[in-house]
Structures are given as structure tokens and as C-alpha cells.
């Protein structure tokens, strides 16, 4: 049985000119694997992640023919039932730790909060689990880091804290929405390593949302290419060069390589799409 199966997912926002679909009829399934979603800004990839989490902001509407998670139909759940799933069964790593961590709450407390609101563990156990989670993201001195405020750690460490916070209750599904694009290039690989390692060790399913084709090709088993709210192509990560759709081929063609001698990078010709 697949972990997540989505059929004909739509996210619609009302506008002055009538409803606008930002995600139009997405269908895919996810097992305990690493799935990449790539696409340009505004292609609907982030909104797909939020729709699965049940966090599409108000006036947005989510509809689907099927939205099954771990054998549960997400469509029929109440707001409280969706909230119970968040943090425990599915969670999401956001883009920039500078903004995604609460500035006035200590790191340790923020990690423990996920456990506290779901009310399964005692205080001492929560603390232990939080320190374990920090150790799992390769933070050497977890006791000290737990007492720090977010502005006292670097971006790379902030993102590791974020990952620790999201894996602490061992969810089955992890969505990572541009988890490295706010980080220095030098720590991106390290953060992704940690994330991928945790995901495979704990048998989670991962959806990696990114606009970085190379990165997704390297870290994921499969790639969905999104354009204007639709999946235009699904490819195995090794087969990127054999992509068929003109949009994907355009994207691949405009990737710079280190030994290239081209004067100009080709630009996508949107007229042909």
C-alpha cells in the first residue's frame, strides 16, 4: 500500500476575475521513497505541499478525487483531526530558519512543543527526546544549543534544528519545501545529507520541493516536473537527460555546467509550451 496517494488535486483561490487554480488536477502516489517536485516559482509546488499538510491559507479551497494518507481519507477529516496528524504523522521543513523559528522561544522548548501539544510524553521524556533529536541532526553540544534562542545559531544549524523539530515524533511523511535555498552553498550538502539519512533510517516518505534540478536529481528516486499547476512529466532521477517534455528539456538545457564554453545560456521558449 502506498503512503500517500493523490488524485486530481486542485487548489483554488477566489480572485476578482473569478476562481484561479494554482494546482490543477495533480495525481501521484508516494511510497517510502524520496520524491522530488521541481518547477519554477508559481508553478504550484509549494501549494501542493501545503494542501497535503492541510495548511492552505483561507480563502483557498482544496479539492481532490482522492487524498489517501496511510489508509486514511484526509478529505473527510475535521480540522482537529488534521491537526492531530500534523507533527505526529506528517511534517514539513520550511525554507528559511531565520523566519521559520520563533525568535523569542528557546530552541529546546520549540522542539519539545511538538511533543507537548500532542500530549503523549512526560516532561523529562520530552526533554530527552529533544536532545536526542538534536544529536540526530549532528549537533555536538545539544544541551547548550537547546538553551539558545534562534538568533544565536547560524543558518545551517538553524535548519538542522528545524529538521530535528520535525522528525522528533517520527512522522511517516516528511515534506521539505526548499529546505536549503536560504543556506550557504557550503552547508547545503550537509543539511540534505542529514535529512536524507534520517528519512531512510526511519523509513519515512520524503517529498523534496525545490527549483534546483541538479539537487533533486541527486537526492531523489523520482522527479515530478511541475509547470503552471500541472505535472508535465515524471522521470526517474537517473533519466533526467532523457526527458521528453519540452519544458523539462528547456530546464535541463539552461543548466550551466562547470566546463561549458557557451557565451549565453538558452532561455525557455514559453511560446512552444
Amino acid at each position: 500500500m502506498s503512503l500517500l496517494s493523490v488524485e486530481n488535486l486542485r487548489v483554488t483561490f477566489p480572485t476578482d476575475h473569478g476562481p484561479a487554480d494554482v494546482v490543477r488536477g495533480l495525481s501521484f502516489t508516494l511510497g517510502r521513497e524520496r520524491l522530488g517536485i521541481v518547477g519554477e516559482s508559481g508553478s504550484g509546488k509549494s501549494m501542493t505541499g501545503r494542501a497535503i499538510m492541510g495548511l492552505v491559507p483561507a480563502p483557498g479551497k482544496v479539492t481532490a478525487d482522492q487524498l489517501m494518507f496511510n489508509g486514511k481519507d484526509l478529505r473527510g477529516l475535521s480540522e482537529d483531526e488534521r491537526r492531530d496528524l500534523r507533527g505526529t504523522a506528517m511534517s514539513m521543513v520550511l525554507q528559511d530558519p531565520k523566519f521559520s523559528l520563533n525568535p523569542v522561544i528557546r530552541i529546546g522548548e520549540q522542539i519539545e512543543e511538538a511533543m507537548a501539544v500532542h500530549g503523549t510524553l512526560g516532561r523529562r521524556e520530552r526533554r530527552e527526546r529533544a536532545l536526542e533529536a538534536l544529536t540526530a541532526v549532528r549537533i555536538k553540544d545539544p544541551e547548550r544549543v537547546a538553551r539558545l534562542f534562534p538568533h544565536e545559531v547560524s543558518g545551517g544549524m538553524g535548519q538542522r534544528v528545524m529538521i530535528a523539530m520535525m522528525v522528533v515524533l517520527e512522522p511517516a511523511l516528511m515534506i521539505a519545501d526548499e529546505p536549503t535555498s536560504a543556506l550557504d552553498v557550503s552547508v547545503r550538502g550537509q543539511v540534505l545529507d542529514i535529512l536524507a539519512d534520517l528519512v531512510s533510517r526511519r523509513g519515512m516518505g520524503l517529498i523534496l520541493i525545490s527549483h534546483d534540478l541538479n539537487m533533486v536529481a541527486r537526492w531523489c528516486d523520482r522527479i515530478l516536473v511541475m509547470y503552471r499547476g500541472e505535472i508535465v512529466e515524471e522521470i526517474a532521477s537517473g533519466a533526467l537527460m532523457d526527458a521528453q517534455h519540452p519544458y523539462t528539456r528547456g530546464l535541463v538545457a539552461s543548466l550551466p555546467t562547470i566546463d561549458e564554453t557557451r557565451d549565453r545560456l538558452p532561455v525557455l521558449d514559453r511560446g512552444k509550451l
Partner: protein, 337 residues
């Protein structure tokens, strides 16, 4: 060391600020077209008498010397004698300031206790019915003049319903029956165990304090709402939702905690405004506070009283500012560095 140095810095800036404040009141005292000598000798005195008095008052000395003397006097609590009351200004202020302080404090408590939750609630229901109602209440707080609300309040709650006491701080047959400990009638009557006086003082203060509280509330609720909306749009709110944090905690823990610092500034400003003495409210309610005192002093060209009152108001402003700065550091980890 790390604790001593900021404290010393704090005291130094406090001293410099007060010196600046004194310089301002001193200059005001010199530039106003009121001749302090004439105020003493009268306008029919001979020129010899005038000059002799002027010299005796030290007004012939260089300004620097006069300023130094002024600072020395103020440091000893010597603010001169009021022409209109015939008593030392310091004594007058010790009597009128507690009246204003009592009303303003009750007012700000009402304003904060209602205004903050209203602002949070309005932000949580942005654009919906509750938000609109709170907006209208806030708008009324800006638009309605204080004296009108005071008069209407007296007509309804005092004259018709008889729920509250009328003008003044206490029923007249109890006036002067409570010995002064703090100058705050509510506190003094309790210290004295005089429940009748306490009830009377409460029934007198509750209406003007509520009206002041309403004006504070309008400002505080509006600012709280906009601070909350700003926080609710932040990415860490999404993080909290991803963790499955319930909305109630998202409001009070995640969005409210970061705005406490900003709110302290707003509440401090609002409190300082009330402590200046609302001239309108104090006049309508015959409240013997600093606003009333200052108005009377101004109308009588009573410069010592005006400067003394100005100094107290300035000191209150500085004190509240410094106090909220200190709280700032306590509540915001980012400001502690």
C-alpha cells in the same frame, strides 16, 4: 562587572536626561513674558524696589549661575512658592499628583485588561464581525471628545441611575476624614480600615477612570491588533501549525509573546499620557489632580507652579520610558545581547 556596568550606564543616562529636562523648564521660566519680580513686588512698586528685589532674587546673576542654583534647589525638592495657593509648590504637587496617579493607574489597568484581549481577538478574527465591532469601539475612542463622554457619563450613571458618586474624589462628608499615608484614597482608606470611605472613593473614581480607560483601550486594542496581524503572517506561525499546535496556543504563545515588547512601549506611552493629567476629565469631574492644578496655575501666571508641574510630568515621562526600556531587555532575548 557585566551587571554593574549597564546599571552605571543606566544611571548616567538617567542623570543626563533629567539635566536636559531641567534645562528645558529653566529656559521656559526665563523666556515666558511673565516678570517674576513684578509677580512679587506688584506693578506699582518703584524702580528702586524693583531692582533691589531683582538682585535679592538672584536674577542679576549670569544664567549659568542661575541654572546651577536652580538645579541645586530642585535636587533639594525646593520648587518655590505658588502664588495662587500661597504654599510651597512641592507640597501642592505632593497633594495633587497622587490624585492623578490613582485615576491614571486605574484607567490604564482597565485599558490594558480589556484592550489587549480585544486586540488579540480582533486579529484572530480579522475581517469578521467581532473585528468590525472592535474597530468601531476603537474609532469611537478616537472620535469622541473626553469632556462630552464625561458629561454624558455623569448624567446617566450619577444623576439618573445613581450607580456612581459625582464629582470630586470622595463624598464631601468624608472629605478629610482619611489620614494621608500614600495620598491614594483607595489605599489610604484600606490602611485605615475605613470601608465606608473606600466605597465612597471607589464610587467616585470608577467613572472617570473608566472613561480614561476607554481612551487607553481604543489605542491599545488598535495597536495590539496590528502587531498581532504582523506576527500571524510570519513563517514561524506556519511552523507551529505544521507541528500541530492548536490555534489558541498559536495566538497566545507564538504570536503574542514576540509582541509583548512592542506592547510595553504602547502601554507606557498611553500610561504617561494619562499621568499628565487629563485636563478635560479632571475639570468635568472636579478632580483635584495635576491637570487641574496646572490649568489653574497657567491661568494665574503662577510660574513656580507651572514649572514644578511640568517638571513632575517630565520626570514621569522619563521614568516610564526608562522603565519600559528595562522591561524590554527582560522580555526580548534579542535585545539582551
Amino acid at each position: 562587572m557585566t551587571r554593574v556596568l549597564p546599571a552605571a550606564q543606566f544611571l548616567l543616562t538617567l542623570a543626563v536626561t533629567f539635566l536636559g529636562l531641567l534645562a528645558i523648564t529653566f529656559v521656559i521660566g526665563r523666556v515666558v513674558p511673565i516678570d517674576p519680580v513684578v509677580a512679587v513686588v506688584g506693578d506699582r512698586a518703584s524702580i528702586e524696589t524693583y531692582n533691589a528685589t531683582k538682585e535679592a532674587m538672584g536674577l542679576d546673576d549670569p544664567l549659568v549661575v542661575q541654572f546651577a542654583r536652580y538645579v541645586g534647589q530642585v535636587a533639594q525638592g525646593e520648587l518655590g512658592t505658588s502664588v495662587s495657593t500661597g504654599r510651597p509648590v512641592a507640597e501642592d504637587l505632593a497633594r495633587v499628583f497622587p490624585a492623578t496617579f490613582e485615576m491614571a493607574t486605574l484607567g490604564i489597568i482597565i485599558g490594558v485588561a480589556l484592550g489587549v484581549p480585544m486586540g488579540v481577538f480582533a486579529a484572530a478574527r480579522q475581517g469578521r464581525m467581532a473585528d468590525q465591532i472592535i474597530r468601531v469601539i476603537g474609532l469611537a475612542g478616537y472620535a469622541i471628545p473626553a469632556f462630552w463622554l464625561g458629561l454624558i457619563g455623569l448624567v446617566i450613571f450619577y444623576a439618573h441611575l445613581r450607580w456612581v458618586g459625582g464629582p470630586g474624589r470622595i463624598d464631601f462628608f468624608l472629605d478629610g476624614m482619611v489620614p494621608t499615608h500614600t495620598g491614594l484614597l483607595l489605599v489610604d482608606s484600606l490602611i485605615d480600615g475605613n470601608l465606608e470611605a473606600f466605597r465612597s472613593a471607589l464610587s467616585h473614581i470608577i467613572l472617570p477612570a473608566t472613561i480614561l480607560g476607554f481612551f487607553a483601550l481604543a489605542y491599545i486594542a488598535r495597536m495590539t491588533r496590528s502587531f498581532m496581524l504582523e506576527q500571524l503572517g510570519q513563517e514561524f506561525i506556519t511552523t507551529a501549525r505544521v507541528k500541530g499546535v492548536p490555534e489558541r496556543l498559536i495566538l497566545w504563545r507564538h504570536a503574542f509573546r514576540p509582541i509583548r515588547v512592542q506592547l510595553i512601549t504602547v502601554i507606557g506611552l498611553s500610561y504617561a499620557g494619562l499621568l499628565e493629567g487629563s485636563v478635560m476629565i479632571e475639570t468635568v469631574f472636579s478632580w483635584p489632580g495635576i491637570g487641574n492644578y496646572l490649568t489653574t496655575a497657567l491661568l494665574n501666571a503662577d510660574m513656580n507652579a507651572v514649572l514644578g508641574a511640568t517638571l513632575v510630568i517630565g520626570a514621569v515621562f522619563v521614568g516610564i520610558n526608562k522603565g519600559s526600556d528595562a522591561l524590554y531587555r527582560l522580555l526580548d532575548p534579542r535585545a539582551r545581547a
